[in-house]
Structure formats: C-alpha cells, structure tokens
C-alpha cells in the first residue's frame, strides 16, 4: 500500500529518475543543535507545546482525541473537495494501526515558501510548513477557503506532532514528492520520488503511544463520521477500508443531507414522502467587508415521538446546538402555528414548539467563516447573527412550502396537534391517578355507587345500569351482599346541527374506573379489581345500544385485560312479562313471543274451508308455520310497491313466483331463477351494453334495494337493469310447503265471491271462531287466540320494571341471562364506535355506503 514510499531511501536520488534530485530545503541541521537560532526556538516551542498540552488542540488524549486526528486530516481533503478540486477521498486503517488518508486534490505545494524560508533562515517548502508550523495554511489566507472544516485551523500539523511517525506524499506537477516525520520533526527534506500523472495528497500517520491512552482506532466511530461527512458534502466519494479486518464501505451521496434525513428516517414511517429542503447564502457585514453565511437544511417528519435534529457548522457536529438551531426552531414553531391558525386546524389546544418537534427529523448544515464555539464541549454555535439569518430563511421558505403542499402541511399540523393532545391527556391522566390513589386510601368511592357489602371479590358483581330510574329499581332489587349498582346516564350533548349526541361524562368515566379498582391501561392490575363480573345493563333501544357501545369501547380500549379475562358481561333483560293465571314468566325477544303465542293458539285450533275441509292437528301446525314463515317476506314485497295479487299473475308452471325483474330497453321481463335469467342474458348478449349488477352479491344488493333505480334506467336504450327480489325466494319455498298441504297461492289472496253465505275460511278454537277471506291472516288469528287468558306486558325500558321484576329477570343469578363479552365482541364494538363516532362524518358515511347491509342490521 505504500509503494511510493521508500523510508530508507528518501534522502537518496532515485537512479532511474535522473531529474528527480532532492530539491528545496536541506535537512534540518540535527547535529548542529548548538547552533541555537531564533527560528529553532519558535519551531520547537510549537512542537513542544502541542505535545505537552495535546488536549488544548484535540480535546483529549482518549478515544475521542485519537479519532480526532483522522478527522483533521480528512477535513483537509474535504476542503479540497468542497473547493471543487477533489472528488474522492479514501481512508484506510492499516494493519499496523496507522491510518492513511488520500485525496485526488491539488496536492499541498512542495516548492519553496518564501515567507517561511526567510523566517527560518533556510529553504522551507510549503509542505514542510503545513506539516510543522502551527497556524500555517490555506485556511488563514483570504480567498483560499471561504469556510473550512478543520477544527480551529490547527489541522494536520497537530496530527503530525502527535504521531510516532508520519509520512506525506504529494502528487503534483508530474511527480510524487515525499517527506517523513518522526514525532513532528522532519526526517529529511521533501524528496521527489517518481514521475506520476496523478495528483493529490496522501498522509499516513501512526498515533504516538506516548501521548494517547489508546492508539487503537474504532471502525464504527470512523464509519459513522465518514458517512456523516459524505452526507454533509454531497458528491464527495469517501472510501473507507479497515485492513485489519477487511471491512469497508464507500459513501457517496448525490443528494447530500436530503439523503441524510432519509437515512435517519429509514426505520420510521415518514409522514410525508418528500424531504423539505432549502439552501442558500446570506451576506453579512463584518467590519468593512462582508462575509457569506451558507445554510442547508433538510426536514422530514416521521411517525416517531422524539426530535432528531442534527446540526453542523463547517462539518463540525454542534451537539449542543446554538444560534443556528434556535433560529431554526423558532421559525418552525412560528410558521406552523401561523399556518394552523390560518387554516383553522387547531381545536382547543394550540401545539407548542415541543409539540411541533415530535417526530421531526432535520439536518442543519451551516457554513460560517468565523464560527465561535461555546459550551462545555465547545460544540455550541455562539455567533448571534446566525440566529436571525436562519430564522428568516426558514420562516420564509417554509411558509411558501406549506401553502404549496397542503397535504404535507396538514399532516405535520395534525402530528403537532396529536402531540399537544398527548401532553394534555398525560397531564389529565396523572391528575386522575393522583385522585384515584387518594380515593383508595380515603375510601372515597364514587358517590353514585351503591356498593355491595361483601368483599369476596369472586362473588361480587358491578351492574352498570342505564338511567337513574332503572338504577333506583336495581338498587332496590339487587342482592345487597354481592351486587353493586352504578347508574350511568350517558350524557346527552348537543352536537352541531340539532343532533343530539351521546357521551359518557367525565364523572361517569372516573366513577367506573374508581369503582372497578383495577386501574387502566398498562397499569391495569386484575388482582386489584373489586368485582368479578362487570355487567352492562342497558335498554334494548337505540339509546341503550349507544351507551352499550360506548361502554364496551371504553373497556376494550382502557381495560383491555379486564375484557380479555372475561370479566365483562351484558345483561339481557326480557322484553315481555307474561302472566297466565297466577304464574308469571318472562320472554326475551319478539320472535320468541310470537313463536310461543302461535304454539299456544294452535292447541285445539281447527281450520274449516268453504268446501268443507277440516284442517287440524299436525297438518294445521305445519300450515301455520309455513304461513308464519312467509309473513315478513310478503310485507317486504309489498313495500316495494308490488302487491301479491299482481305478482301472482306471473306465477310460472312450476308454481314459482319471479325473483328477477329485468328492464331491457323499454321491455320488462321476469324470471323465477338464475338459470332462466342467465339464458336470457346469453341470448341478448350482443345487445347488452350496460351493467349487469346481479352477478355479485354486493351489486345485487345495491340494485335491488333501490326502489327508484329502475325507473331511471328504463329509458337507457338497450341498457339492462336487473332487480333481484330476495324475499320472493322465501315465499317460493313456503309455497311449495303450502302445495304439499293442499293449498295454492290463491289461498293467500282475497277472492271475488258473490252470492256465497259461508265464509271462505273459518278458524275455530273452543268457543271462539274467526272468519278469514284469505290465509295470510291465519297466523295472526292463531296468535291472538293464543293470547287468551294471558296478560302480556311489553317492557319499553328497564325503568318500567319495578325492583322485584328487575331482580327476578335481570339480577337474580337463577333466572337472569348474562352474555359474557368476548374479545371479538369488544373489538367489534370498537369498530362500530369508530364508524358511529359523532365527529367524523366522512369515514362513517364511506363505511356505511360500503357496508350498507351490515349497518342496516346493526340493531344491537
């Protein structure tokens, strides 16, 4: 790796290159130390000073200082690259622990430096000056480098002074030139080694173990910094190789700090895909002249909650921030706040600067001619003029950016609002926790709670009862020892328009949490629960289902493990009370009530027809069940505006009514089954231009359920529109059953019967009888006969039950029906809650339209 370096022969002329005679300076007169000159004194005191007090120059002599040596050398190469002279830098950790840094820049000049030569009284090359004279170098000359990275300008000289040995070869002017040093002292003059057509500087140094506590370079540390430099200096290629292990990488970033930000966000979800990027220069007066301040800033928000801002001044990482960072921050807060206010994006809470920095990833890279570094580690920029420059540049740019990118702007604002909300919520949660702790120690259970007397948790139950009156009855009817009652009202608030929305009040939420006692969220401790069963008891109406949804959602979200462990139940109070003679019993649902009445009425009921048939017993039962099964379907058909009488005219030979209604051009067709429909469609395939929605269930539903749709579609030329009458399938099935029992469709339709005295149908049961014009009314007639002798009360709400009834139906473990809430139930309630939530109309509408059928049946 050092083929151009010839340590033993650097003071000899290379024979194969006759022109390459040693030039420039003679070697220092090492043996003539007694010739003590002024120049020597100056020179030696620089070297001695650095070696005696290295920390003043490189911070410390530990790992940090050690690596700093590499950075100093690399910084020189970066300067060459940034000035446009170098494109490539390579850094190699050699097997002997030395480091080689090489670039393809102009190369340090090797000819005689007049100023230095005069000062030292001998011929001194520029190269030797750079390597051995402190504060000597291009950086201090006007015009060479506007801003430079080398920390404090001590540069490579210090690296040389603190190295056991160091070796520089410069390729320029057609030759390779070389000089070696030992602990800072040149071992000889600059030697011209061999011809070359390359150019650049190559520095190899081995840190001095007399100075450093450790001289072992860390791969990861150098890796990170070199990558960082490549990000900060776009277009510069940095090759890194560790000869000790063979590891290495190449860093090259065409888009610079934009890629840096993307790299920092690589493991997070970006809030917006484009990185916001601005760069520019500002001229500021400095005495009689002006100085240029350059800035380059890249911003991207991610889904994270932390702030990730990396700031640099002249490639130096300003970990303590400084004026550039504070200028950036205040501009960011101000601009986002202004935008949010203008667009009316804030609700109650206006986000603070901290809120707007959640999830912020940014890189700020400054070029400042004379940076002042402050702070404990000298990594805080102190130049006061920078704050205003960055502030106004960022403010101006960002305001325009937000206007032009409203989607990104809204996402960023929403993120800040969420952060503000989190801050506020955390404050409230803390207050709640304090309150709860106080409540536990002071025994301050919620005032509305009617607690049970037992403390045997496994037997205790908490009933959450909708409404105050039901709460009162429940309190009276409960088993005091084991059952506690907490009445909940489900506060009504007037939302926008005149709509009334249901909400669990703050007090109710807190009451539940403190009554249940287990705590919430991550801190939930099941062993602290005060009840084994939490029973939600609400009415079977819309209000009740809303409160139930709210409660289930709350438990699912905040007391997940309580639900998961099966401690949450839903009480299922009955809908009917039935009293027969002195016996009272309860019936849960409408269907069940109807079914029971039919069975009761069927006993001993006989149907007589005009032609003298008597239907009774099992046949009568089958007939009534078939008729009852089609009751709802016939009503559904009629609601479409199709009467059974009209539809009956389209009965086919097989005794089926048409299920499909097809509009084709100006013609209408009816088909009893899909097979017939498909045949028709095939036949007319060439004419059919429009939709054929009957093929998938969802579309069929849409077409069939829209009563008005066909009228609009009929005019559509040869377009086709299909309506499917689902309910007719049920009717057809039951018609078959009727046929089996000897009745046809006409038995369901009233007939013109002039001059007949006997009724068409008559039902007799005991001493009561009912006359019917058609059989549709039969089930209803039977049910009403079944009601005889019964007193049926339909409860409209829990509040209508008195304490005893409530106890008997809903509280008493012997009779009540409780449904254990599963995780599926709870998360489904949460889904529905999201749909029904009062303040998000759009997603709800979307959802409802997408799943019209499901939502229609959401009668929980």
């Amino acid at each position: 790796m050092t083929e151009e370096t010839n340590k033993s022969g650097n003071d000899q002329t290379q024979p194969e290159q006759p022109q390459a005679k040693p030039q420039t300076t003679p070697p220092p007169q090492r043996k003539a130390r007694d010739e003590y000159t002024e120049a020597d004194l100056q020179h030696l005191s620089d070297l001695e000073h650095v070696r005696e007090r290295p920390s003043m120059y490189i911070g410390d002599t530990g790992v940090r200082g050690l690596h700093h040596l590499v950075y100093e050398v690399v910084d020189n190469s970066i300067d060459e690259a940034m000035a446009g002279y170098a494109r490539q830098i390579s850094v190699t950790i050699n097997t002997d622990g030395s480091v080689t840094v090489e670039d393809d820049g102009r190369g340090i000049p090797v000819d005689k430096h007049h100023g230095l030569s005069e000062e030292f009284g001998r011929e001194v090359s520029t190269l030797e000056g750079v390597m051995t004279v402190l504060k000597f170098g291009g950086k201090f000359q006007k015009g060479a480098y506007v801003t430079s990275g080398g920390l404090h300008g001590v540069g490579v000289t210090v690296v040389n002074f603190l190295s056991e040995w160091c070796e520089v070869s410069v390729s320029r002017d057609g030759y390779v030139w070389q000089q070696e040093y030992a602990r800072g002292e040149p071992k000889g003059p600059v030697v011209r080694v061999s011809p070359t057509n390359k150019r650049g500087t190559r520095t190899t140094f081995k840190p001095d173990a007399q100075i450093f506590q450790t001289t072992v370079f860390n791969y990861d540390t150098l890796y990170k910094r070199l990558q960082e430099l490549a990000f900060l200096n776009r277009g510069v290629r940095i090759e890194f190789k560790d000869e000790r292990t063979g590891e290495g990488d190449t860093f090259y970033y065409e888009r610079g700090i934009i890629e840096f930000v993307e790299y920092l966000n690589r493991a997070s979800d970006a809030l917006h895909s484009d990185v916001i990027y601005l760069a520019g220069e500002t001229e500021i007066p400095k005495g009689d002249e002006t100085e240029i301040v350059g800035y380059e800033i890249a911003i991207q928000y991610s889904g994270e909650y932390t702030e990730n801002v990396h700031s640099y001044v002249n490639n130096i990482c300003t970990t303590e921030g400084g004026t550039h960072v504070s200028g950036f921050r205040s501009a960011l807060t101000r601009t986002l706040n202004n935008y949010g206010k203008k667009e009316n994006l804030f609700k109650d809470i206006v986000p603070t600067g901290d809120d707007f920095r959640e999830g912020l990833t940014a890189v700020i890279s400054m070029r400042v001619a004379h940076p002042q570094f402050e702070g404990q580690t000298k990594t805080k920029l102190g130049n006061s003029e920078i704050e205003g420059i960055v502030n106004s540049a960022v403010g101006e740019f960002l305001a325009t950016y937000l206007e032009e990118h409203p989607k990104t702007a809204r996402a960023i604002i929403a993120k800040g609002v969420l952060a503000a909300e989190a801050r506020e919520a955390a404050r409230k949660a803390k207050a709640l926790l304090r309150e709860r702790k106080g409540a536990l120690s002071g025994g301050g259970l919620p005032g509305k709670l009617r607690d049970c007397t037992s403390r045997e948790v496994d037997k205790c139950e908490l009933y959450l009862v909708e409404g105050d009156s039901a709460g009162g009855s429940a309190e009276g009817g409960r088993i005091r020892e084991y059952q506690a009652i907490l009445p909940l009202r489900g506060k009504i608030i007037n939302a926008y328009k005149s709509r009334e929305d249901k909400v669990l009040s703050n007090e109710e939420v807190r009451s539940m949490i403190s009554a249940i006692g287990s705590g919430i969220g991550e801190d939930l401790d099941l062993s602290k629960r005060r009840y084994n069963k939490i029973v939600i008891m609400t009415d079977a109406d819309v209000d009740g289902s809303h409160i139930r949804t709210l409660l289930l959602t709350f438990f699912y979200r905040q007391m997940y493990h309580l639900v998961n462990a099966g401690h949450v139940y839903i009480a299922q109070p009955p809908l009917f009370r039935v009293t027969h003679k002195k016996k009272t019993y309860y019936v849960q649902t409408d269907e069940e009530m109807r079914r029971q009445l039919l069975e009761l009425g069927l006993a001993e009921a006989v149907l007589e027809t005009e032609d003298g048939q008597r239907i009774e017993g099992e046949t009568m039962r089958e007939l009534c069940l078939a008729l009852a099964a089609m009751e709802d379907s016939i009503l559904a058909l009629e609601r479409r505006g199709i009467s059974l009488r009209d539809h009956a005219q389209k009965l086919n030979a097989a005794g089926e009514l048409p299920v499909f209604h097809v509009f084709h051009g100006i013609n209408e067709y009816w088909f009893a089954n899909r097979q017939e429909l498909d045949e028709f469609l095939k036949e007319h395939e060439h004419e059919i231009t429009a939709q054929r929605p009957a093929d998938d269930a969802g579309a069929t539903n849409g077409a069939a359920t829209n009563g008005q749709a066909h009228e609009g579609e009929v005019t559509g030329g040869s377009s086709i529109h299909i309506v499917e009458l689902h309910e007719v399938r049920t009717i057809n099935a039951q018609l078959k059953e009727l046929a089996r029992l000897g009745f046809d469709l006409q038995s369901l339709i009233p007939q013109q019967r002039t001059g007949k005295q006997t009724p068409r149908y008559a039902v007799r049961r005991g001493d009561s009888s009912v006359e019917l014009e058609d059989l549709r009314g039969l089930p209803a007639a039977i049910r009403s006969m079944g009601e005889k002798g019964l007193t049926i009360t339909r409860f409209k709400g829990l509040g209508e039950m008195n304490a005893e009834e409530l106890r008997e139906t809903t509280l008493d473990p012997a009779n009540r029906t409780l449904r254990q809430v599963t995780m599926d139930d709870a998360s489904a309630a949460d889904d529905m809650f999201r749909i029904l939530m009062g303040d998000k109309v759009e997603p709800r509408r979307e959802f409802i339209e997408k799943h019209a059928l499901e939502v229609k049946n959401l009668d929980i």
Binding site: G303, A425, A426, H546, A829, V841, A852, N857
Partner: protein, 72 residues
C-alpha cells in the same frame, strides 16, 4: 342479534389498527389495543374530555344512508 351483527362487522376490519394513530398494532404491544402507551393516553384524554360522542342513529339514516330498501 347483537352478537350476530357484531361478528359480521368484525370480518370487515381484520388487522388490528391503533384507534388513535391507525398504525398497525403488533400483537405483543404492551398497550393493546393501542400501538403505544402514548396513544392510549390520548384516548383516555378524549374520554375524560367527553370528546367521544355517538350520534343518534335515527337522525343519521336520513342524513347519510341513501341505500335503504324501506326508504319508499
């Protein structure tokens, strides 16, 4: 009927998504059903703030649901 309709709904949304930020929630999240304690806290804040309201479904039907076979 309650259970049946809930089950039907359940099939609509399969992946567990955080109720607050809509991120996918890993099954080992400490803050189930949320992605993080932070989002759960935000949710708690909303309960305590009485921000979670359910609109009266009876008004809703007229307002938002044109698809209804009983509409005419």
């Amino acid at each position: 009927m309650f259970v049946a309709s809930l089950k039907r709904l359940r099939t609509v949304a399969k992946k567990l998504r955080c109720p607050i930020c809509d991120a996918e929630v890993p099954s080992d999240s400490r803050s189930l059903p949320f992605c993080s304690s932070r989002c759960r806290t935000i949710d708690l804040g909303r309960w305590l703030n009485e921000e979670y309201t359910l609109a009266d479904a009876r008004d809703e039907e007229e307002e938002a649901v044109p698809l209804d076979d009983e509409a005419d």
